[in-house]
């Protein structure tokens, strides 16, 4: 293999999308981790590597890692005796069944052209279950034809409705949704808090709050043991998607690495995708990187006062300030968040609820304790009903204003013998 030849390798079904940043770890010859960096396939970057041979490990969320060994001494340039900068270039192409490619970086020293292999397999997740979506009406509920890849599960129809919050949840016209490929709807929601409800024969009515801006919704049939329809929300911002993938895989520090660079870019951008910025902000709050948010949360509150999450993020940032935190202002932001509606992110709803509980008996709350209690009471059914493992606030219900903890129809129960269930309903 010559040094600069692009290499094509099939790596199975992929969880990573083209253009999404991924985390690379630099390992020394003894396999110690010596550096970690976020890299975006297809773009160039530089990372510090130790002297001598080293290994680059690409951490693809929910998949096997990909390894590249770099040995400067065998790449035509003699041995490296000092730590060096590694240029990350994009000449590897990894083909993914399903039709897209990930341009994986090639690692080596620019002057010497050291290139090694990227090799590995990304095990495949499940294939999409939905193959067709059609909008029946643009002004009422939409009807979805849901076809399953499983021949034992015939096609069914799901109903979709869009809701808008203005003090209470009201029906919204569906022109913000449009078909987008085989199994998706695109949405475009400007300056308003919206939710979508999905219901079907096998899917219990289910509410999902939607991020502002543009993105898409993809619907899968519910799992056999869970009647909640699988509603997946995708944003256009590749970094935000990557952060979510790493968080879902439990790779919290990998997610933070990407969130830090995303925060740096949205500090300087003229136009910020607020939905993507919120994902980065929540990640940084969870991982102690709130300082990277700088002034963005305060600006976001001014620019998007109707978006509850901006208030929650700003409050959370203030509560982590060193010195004398602005407790009074933080409490006011939490109350403003509740006034604006329900946070779009599950993390935001938990932070709002837990924050108000913590504030309830503090001196800062002495003038507003009764209103705090009322807000807590109003939020309690949402917190009780929300699925904590979903990124976006989601719960059973036919109307976003009436969250339900359990679906309104039963699902089959498994008969188990000699088994400890650590609770059962």
């Amino acid at each position: 293999m010559s040094d600069r030849d692009p290499v094509e390798e099939s790596v199975g079904n992929a969880q990573a999308s083209a253009g999404e940043p991924i985390v690379a770890e630099i390992l020394d010859a003894k396999l110690n981790i010596v550096n970690r960096v976020s890299v975006t396939p297809g773009t160039d970057g530089t990372v510090q590597a130790p002297a001598g041979p080293f290994v680059v490990r690409l951490r693809v969320p929910d998949a096997d890692d990909l390894f590249t060994r770099v040995d400067p001494s065998s790449s035509g340039g003699g041995s490296a005796v000092t730590p060096m900068d590694v240029e990350i270039r994009s000449s590897h192409t990894l083909n993914f069944p399903g039709g897209f490619q990930l341009n994986a970086p090639v690692f080596g020293r620019a002057a010497r052209g050291a290139v090694s292999r990227v090799r590995g397999a990304i095990p495949g997740p499940t294939s999409p279950q939905m193959v067709e979506v059609s909008i029946a009406s643009l002004f009422d509920e939409a009807a979805l034809t849901v076809s399953s890849a499983d021949s034992d599960r015939p096609a069914t129809t799901a109903r979709i409705a869009l809701w808008e919050y203005a003090g209470e949840w009201k029906p919204a016209v569906l022109d913000a949704l449009r078909p987008d490929g085989a199994n998706r709807l695109a949405f475009s929601l400007q300056d308003r808090l919206c939710a979508v409800t999905v219901a079907g024969v096998r899917a219990a009515p289910f509410v999902t709050l939607l991020p502002p801006g543009e993105g898409h919704l993809a619907f899968d049939e519910p799992a056999l043991d869970d009647p909640a329809p699988a509603v997946r929300i995708g944003l256009r911002d590749a970094s935000a998607e990557a952060i979510l993938r790493y968080l879902e895989a439990g790779a919290t520090q990998d997610a933070r690495l990407i969130a830090e660079s995303a925060a740096a870019s949205f500090q300087s951008a003229d136009q910020v995708d607020v939905a993507a910025a919120m994902i980065g902000a929540y990640c940084l709050l969870r991982t102690g990187g709130h300082a990277h948010l700088k002034d963005w949360p305060e600006a976001a509150v001014t620019q998007y006062p109707w978006l509850p999450d901006t208030h929650v993020i700003f409050a959370a940032q203030m509560l982590r300030e060193s010195g004398v935190p602005r407790f009074g202002r933080a409490l006011q932001e939490l109350l403003d968040a509740a006034d604006a509606g329900i946070p779009i992110h599950s993390d935001g709803l938990r932070r709002l609820y837990d924050g108000l509980i913590a504030f309830r008996n503090t001196p800062e709350a002495s003038d507003s304790s009764s209103s705090i209690t009322k807000v807590i009471d109003r939020l309690t059914p949402y917190v009780a009903a929300m699925n904590r493992d979903r990124i976006y606030t989601s719960y059973y219900g036919s109307w976003p204003g009436a969250p339900a903890i359990v679906p309104d129809h039963d699902v089959g129960e498994l008969e188990l013998t000699n088994v400890d269930e650590l609770t059962s309903g």
Partner: protein, 388 residues
């Protein structure tokens, strides 16, 4: 007695551990003091939870090592109460009632509070019910049917309250269901007991949480054995969840969770070999909590073992093929497949050469010699493609 080893009060950072395993519920059906008025909601007695707590205790006592924060105290609460053989002595441990848990938790928090570099490790195994909070049910749960959840831990508030503890690494493993009961549905809120009140102050800490299962889902175990989650956790702590730093293999929060995920998938795969009626349902652990940096939870003894699973496509080609995995570092060793699909082995982490040879009528599709394959935790799965 809840302290099962003499407390090390020496200076420097230390590790403090609290382990709770609840299997015997006094007021639920089958318990010693059933409360007829209590809506038992299908909850019953358990055995796997106590087995899990004992398994984690054994790991802590025999295998836990953290050079930066040596083990200093271990408290264990078990229901039913047990006499544990610890370092040549027979140590009786207290039941996991609300009173004893409050007392032990307070001691644990105060000990961990003494040094910011301390490690505070908490394990709970028992019934769990999730509504506006996750309630972790203690052994006297339901003593008063008017407020049955009083004898349970309000997990969310307690977790928030632990922000007041100075230990910058707090590790929480929660082995419980997270579903709701029919009785819980009728209540506005569960009103479980908070063990340390949350305050507004939000200091930074690494406090990774691993839940045994997802929200609204159940966790499982076989009677008398450690639960699936605990088995997976122990496998990850043994090395699946490790990475190498400064020539030490260490367990870190992110890698630990990754290892738990792999171990749970392996356990689920093993279930497929059981008769259908004996199989445990699938279960997926969930990571939660704050994690400001990837601090070290524990050191791994020696080099971790890495599971390798190699399959063939088509499967029939496995009978005409041999895969050889040669360790490149000393001591050199070769692992050879057994002409069956899939081939699974466990090898020390490191660099290997993987070479596959075929006999007619099959031949390799593509490269069948990988001169350097890095096998690091949590392991490798690979499919070797062949054609006729």
């Amino acid at each position: 007695v809840t302290d099962i080893i003499p407390i090390d009060t020496g200076t420097g950072a230390k590790t403090h551990v609290l382990i709770i395993g609840v299997g015997e519920y006094l007021h639920l059906p089958g318990g010693a003091e059933p409360v007829p008025e209590l809506e038992t909601m299908g909850l019953g007695q358990l055995t796997s939870t106590v087995a899990s707590a004992i398994a984690i205790s054994n790991w802590i006592l025999h295998d836990y090592r953290n050079d930066a924060a040596p083990l200093a105290s271990v408290q264990v609460l078990l229901s039913p109460s047990q006499v544990l053989p610890i370092r040549g002595r027979q140590i009786p441990v207290d039941r996991a009632s609300l009173a004893s848990v409050r007392s032990a938790f307070s001691r644990w928090k105060n000990r961990a509070d003494t040094n910011p570099d301390n490690v505070a490790l908490f394990f709970f195994s028992g019934h769990g019910v999730e509504k506006e909070t996750l309630a972790l049910l203690l052994d006297d749960f339901g003593s008063d049917p008017n407020s049955p959840y009083f004898e349970s831990i309000n997990w969310d508030s307690t977790y928030d309250g632990m922000r007041q503890c100075n230990a910058l690494l707090q590790v929480y493993w929660i082995d419980s269901c997270r579903s709701i009961t029919s009785d819980g549905l009728k209540k506005w809120a569960l009103n479980a007991t908070t063990l340390v009140d949350p305050e507004v102050r939000a200091s930074e800490r690494s406090a990774p949480v691993i839940h045994a299962t997802a929200t609204n889902a159940r966790a499982y175990g076989r009677e008398g054995q450690a639960t699936q989650f605990t088995k997976a956790l122990l496998a990850s702590l043994a090395g699946l969840g490790s990475e190498k730093r400064r020539n030490r293999w260490v367990i870190t929060p992110s890698k630990l969770f990754e290892g738990v995920g792999v171990a749970m998938r392996n356990l689920a795969a093993a279930e497929a070999y059981l008769p259908e009626e004996d199989r445990l349902p699938d279960q997926k652990a969930v990571s939660d909590g704050e994690e400001v940096d990837n601090k070290v939870i524990a050191d791994v003894k020696g080099v971790p073992e890495v599971p390798v699973r190699i399959g063939w496509n088509p499967e029939a080609s496995a009978a005409h093929s041999v895969a050889e995995l040669k360790r490149l570092a000393r001591p050199r060793k070769t692992y050879t497949s057994s002409r069956s699909h899939p081939w699974a082995c466990v090898v020390p982490a490191g660099s290997y050469r993987l070479r596959t040879t075929f006999e007619p009528p099959f031949e390799p599709m593509g490269d069948n010699d990988d001169p350097e394959l890095l096998l690091l935790p949590p392991g490798l799965e690979r499919v070797i493609e062949a054609r006729q």
